[in-house]
Subunit: 421 residues, 2 copies
């Protein structure tokens, strides 16, 4: 089954937002084995939407449209769909009733514009909205091609994708069941990952493999197809295990967890409490550890110390260290970690200091990063030089810092410093 | 002048990344007055790229292609462009020389694949890469339509857009000069902004106005066209001033600066040093204040205190407060700010505490946020209830916190608490 995504919205063409809806939808469609061959973005313009529907429905079995279903005069996807199908618009009193109940319940005034959302092109089915007020629309063409029009508001689109579109496409495709597994690693380059797995995938076609690198992380995504979910899982499982074994210590998750989620889970399992001391990351490690709710049982806090005075005053870094090797040094990283463990009375502490750039800092060239780990049974420091510019250096430092804690908690080898430092 | 953006990359169709390149390019093109009418994404497939080039060049005066110019066999944009133009590929020895020098300089081994990047479809011009190794390609069709192919790596694309593509299109369009101004505000809803400006834009067509809301921020973008830059600036300036005056205290920037950049600049101008105390934001405020380089002169640090014990131990929040009104309260916010100012010996301190959700925290329902500000001449606290889910509550708290500091530094009115709290 082939699909195409058509996004309607002038705000996309003006560059005000990126087409994150298409990304999310494509990822979900790939998971159920639907091939997405095109994305397209057009403005809020009937003629161009009709053109896009015509092109897309000729090439694809399913056309997924987002946006333009709101109540204002700018929202013309409904009209474009009716024009493309060459059918009149029909007022659906049960949708009007639903809208009136929603508005009354929320205490909002309802304008006559809102009644446009009760119109459905003749012969189309509709999807009842739960969160929003815009119904989705479903058209079936004589050749079996389906057009699904959904709101552009991400949560409203996701609700309709998960509740209606994905289940329909999955059952329509009559396709084999699909199971995907993602092996996530850090501290290893994408090309090295591909090299280590090359022979494994040179001949294999099921599961398929995809490599993806983002700053400081490499992912291997395996996707197996079979007659049943059990069978697909049985195909993907041994390969995922082989991949994880080959990549060894670099693997932090085989279940999709983020690095911060892994660290929080390990701390919880080991009943240990973590504190951080952050310089170049400015609070980014603490921010990431608190993205998931409920970290407060194991993450106690982070002392962001952005100046030498703060390092000394808040964490007790010695003036000998600050004036000798300086704020970007092994000694400073070690003292920052010790200081954070003492200040927060935590079991483990991680420190991060470095020169994010673009200028050198404390005598260290841009890209230099020093990490410290302090626990009752282990002290460690690691220095490395990150590639990239300021943002990337900060991101790599976060990744390497969280990974150092992950390795410590898993009882793994802790990486040494770059020999060049 | 009409333009279309064609992105080549299977990773986009698989949903591994969003088309952020198209967003950035569209924004830049809008600034020089080029209308972007379509975005399209196709996979790394010669036939489909050729189709996209044919459609796009029929509709548009400029076709901007990203991706598929790398050295591997997957990278087929060069071949597709040659196929579309129906010309052979020509080896350019001067590009080979450049590539050899780049590889030798970086100490990388050079494979025969890399030599593919020295091939150019006959009759095309090329853009010499500075950062990367992939030259850009420029084709001119007999009807004057131009095709620009650029690498998909964002920094490499941006380099070619800014160095070559935008200047060429700007001079080609022979269009009136364009000047844009963005008025950014926070603490005010997009609909309220539009209401306050409604009469102003009901009749005006030059400058045009666009409203954009993102979490905790509303932007008003004004774009004027005229015969010269001076004339366009003369048109936009009085309207921008009128808009800024109507929106009043809510405006934090009329020059495009981010809220964190404004805070850092104001601290520098007033020679004051800021410290933070963060609970629900986990370090996000410190992280944002340190995105621009050079904050260390005025931002000293942030004490992330994610547990009641840390609030007491690190910042001296009293047990009477923690056991009475609790960690999400006016009293706690005030004591956190006092504690941070003392701990870091700063001139000003900002504190943020709250219940980000999804659960209540310290007796406060999800969405409750308390901010504290402590300076020698002023103490203030403000409570409010943020809409949205966990991520949005954290983001709104950051915005409101930074904005409280901005208002204090500008000597403006400091907002009071929601009457409901």
């Amino acid at each position: 089954m082939r699909a195409e995504i058509v996004a309607v919205g002038t705000e996309l063409l003006l560059g005000q937002i990126a087409n994150e809806n298409a990304r999310w939808m494509s990822e979900r469609l790939a998971e159920i084995g639907v091939d997405v061959l095109h994305h397209r973005v057009v403005g809020d313009n009937v003629e161009r939407i009709v053109d896009a529907l015509a092109d897309a429905s000729e090439r694809s079995d399913a056309v997924l449209v987002t946006g333009g279903l709101g109540p204002t005069q700018d929202d013309v996807t409904r009209d474009a769909l009716a024009a493309f199908l060459d059918v009149p618009m029909v007022h659906r009193p049960e949708i009007e009733g639903l809208l009136r109940a929603k508005f009354a319940g929320a205490g909002w005034p309802m304008s006559s514009n809102n009644l446009r959302q009760a119109e459905v092109p003749q012969g189309c089915r509709y999807i009842t909205p739960v969160r929003g007020t815009a119904p989705g629309l479903i058209a079936e063409l004589p050749d079996g091609t389906r057009i699904y029009a959904m709101p552009g508001v991400p949560l409203e689109m996701m609700e309709m994708m998960e509740g209606t579109v994905l289940p329909e496409l999955s059952s329509l495709s009559g396709k084999a069941a699909i199971v995907s597994r993602t092996i996530r690693c850090t501290g290893i380059g994408e090309s090295r990952v591909a090299e280590l797995l090359d022979d494994l995938f040179r001949s294999l076609t099921n599961p398929t493999v995809a490599y993806l690198a983002s700053s400081g992380e490499a992912k291997v995504r395996l996707t197996a197809k079979a007659a049943s979910l059990e069978e697909a899982a049985g195909i993907v499982e041994p390969v995922a295990n082989e991949v994880a074994e080959r990549l060894g210590d670099a693997v932090f998750s085989t279940t999709g967890e983020s690095l911060e989620e892994v660290v929080i889970r390990l701390l919880r399992e080991r009943r240990l409490r973590l504190a951080c001391a952050e310089s170049l990351t400015g609070g980014g490690v603490g921010e990431r550890l608190t993205i998931p709710a409920g970290a407060s049982g194991v993450f106690v806090g982070s002392a962001v110390v952005y100046t030498p005075e703060a390092k000394s005053r808040v964490l007790g870094v010695s003036s000998a260290t600050l004036e000798g090797p300086g704020p970007v040094s092994e000694a400073c990283a070690r003292e920052m970690a010790e200081g954070a463990r003492r200040l927060y009375a935590s079991d483990v502490a991680l420190s991060l200091t470095g020169a994010a750039g673009p200028e050198a800092h404390g005598g260290a060239p841009p890209g230099t990063v020093w990490l410290g780990l302090d626990a009752e049974d282990r002290q460690h420091a690691r220095g490395f030089v990150s590639p990239g510019e300021r943002d990337q250096v900060r991101r790599w430092a976060e990744q390497a810092g969280l990974d150092l804690v992950r390795r410590y908690l898993e009882g793994r080898h802790l990486p040494a410093s770059d020999p060049l430092l």
